[in-house]
């Protein structure tokens, strides 16, 4: 049976600690960068740069790290921030990009343009 990769990845997370936030059956993105982070992580796996399970494990680890240091109802909890952290760690570990070039590019983008 043909299974869409996108369906496979979300099904693998449903009902688990790492499941993405949803509203009325749809994925809930509150702000643009969240859907970008979501799309990049899935696209990389879809194109074979890593196994989806490797990303999931990285995400589970980044969530566990937060939980070890914060109260359960900490208002600063942000699912996609953990997602983003997992993504950047994985792409750096796999040497797809270099952490320093990522830092430099981030700073360039944050600079106000006059």
């Amino acid at each position: 049976m043909q299974i869409k990769f996108e369906q496979f990845v979300t099904a693998s997370m449903l009902g688990n600690q790492d499941a993405p936030p949803r509203s009325n059956g749809e994925l809930l993105f509150q702000i643009d960068w969240e859907s970008r982070a979501f799309g990049v992580a899935i696209a990389l796996s879809k194109k074979g740069h890593y196994e989806w399970e490797d990303f999931r494990q990285e995400l589970i680890a980044s969530i566990a790290e937060w939980e070890a240091n914060h109260c359960q109802d900490d208002p600063n909890w942000d699912y996609y921030q953990r997602w983003l952290l997992a993504l950047e760690r994985l792409v750096c570990e796999l040497e797809l990009i270099d952490i320093e070039e990522l830092e430099t590019r981030t700073q360039q983008l944050l600079k106000p343009t006059f």
């Binding site: 043909q2 009902g15 059956g25 749809e26 994925l27 970008r36 696209a43 990009i97």
Partner: protein, 203 residues
């Protein structure tokens, strides 16, 4: 970092990451767009809601939908993939004052994805799966749905062979509504038989 500077940082961080991956030829922005579009436009409960709304206003369509679900859905102008992965073998069943239908998947978590979107978190829960078969009325009551004794409750086990979805009852006081207005009130839970379609009276 305050909230707005944190959001600005996160936005810059993912933009930096994506742009570097694109420059290195690792992914393309089209691939990323396609992934996001799939969840936002192609696959979701909004598809099922449109099918239900059409069935409510068009009795002939409803009949076809009940008799041959995939061919009825194929006549609608829905995004590609409706009949594809996990959309094949779909079968619609109708809630009436006499019969209330509930769908579960006792074996795993089969679900008609293309029309219902992502299943609710409890769909995969082993306790829900076992109890829905054993004591459906009690489970429905816990969902806030009190089914009168005079109404028969039927539970349908979705599997790789057949993926059920429920045409809920059309709520009273929606006469003259357009399909679009009707589709807006249909929820995934209602198409699973775990809820009724509610219409806010404060309009």
């Amino acid at each position: 970092m305050n909230e707005s500077s944190r959001e600005a940082y996160n936005a810059a961080r993912i933009k930096a990451l994506e742009s570097l991956l694109i420059e290195k030829g690792i992914i393309t922005s089209e691939t990323v767009d396609q992934v996001i579009d799939f969840f936002e436009k192609d696959m979701g409960p909004f598809n099922g809601a449109k099918i239900v709304a059409k069935a409510w206003v068009d009795p002939e369509f409803k009949q076809r939908l009940l008799e041959d679900t995939p061919s009825a859905i194929a006549q609608m102008n829905l995004p590609r993939g409706m009949a594809g992965a996990e959309g094949e073998h779909m079968k619609a069943i109708e809630n009436t004052p006499d019969v209330h239908n509930l769908i579960v998947c006792t074996l795993c978590s089969c679900y008609p994805w293309p029309v219902l979107g992502l299943p609710p978190y409890w769909f995969k829960d082993p306790t829900f799966r076992a109890r829905a078969i054993r004591e459906p009325r009690k489970v429905l009551k816990e969902f806030g749905l009190d089914i009168p004794e005079t109404t028969e409750v039927r539970v349908w086990d979705t599997s790789a062979q057949i993926r059920w979805f429920v045409i809920p009852e059309r709520p009273a006081s929606t006469e003259g509504w357009t399909e679009e207005q009707l589709a807006a009130v249909v929820t995934p839970e209602a198409m699973q038989g775990a809820a009724k379609v509610q219409v806010s009276t404060s309009i």
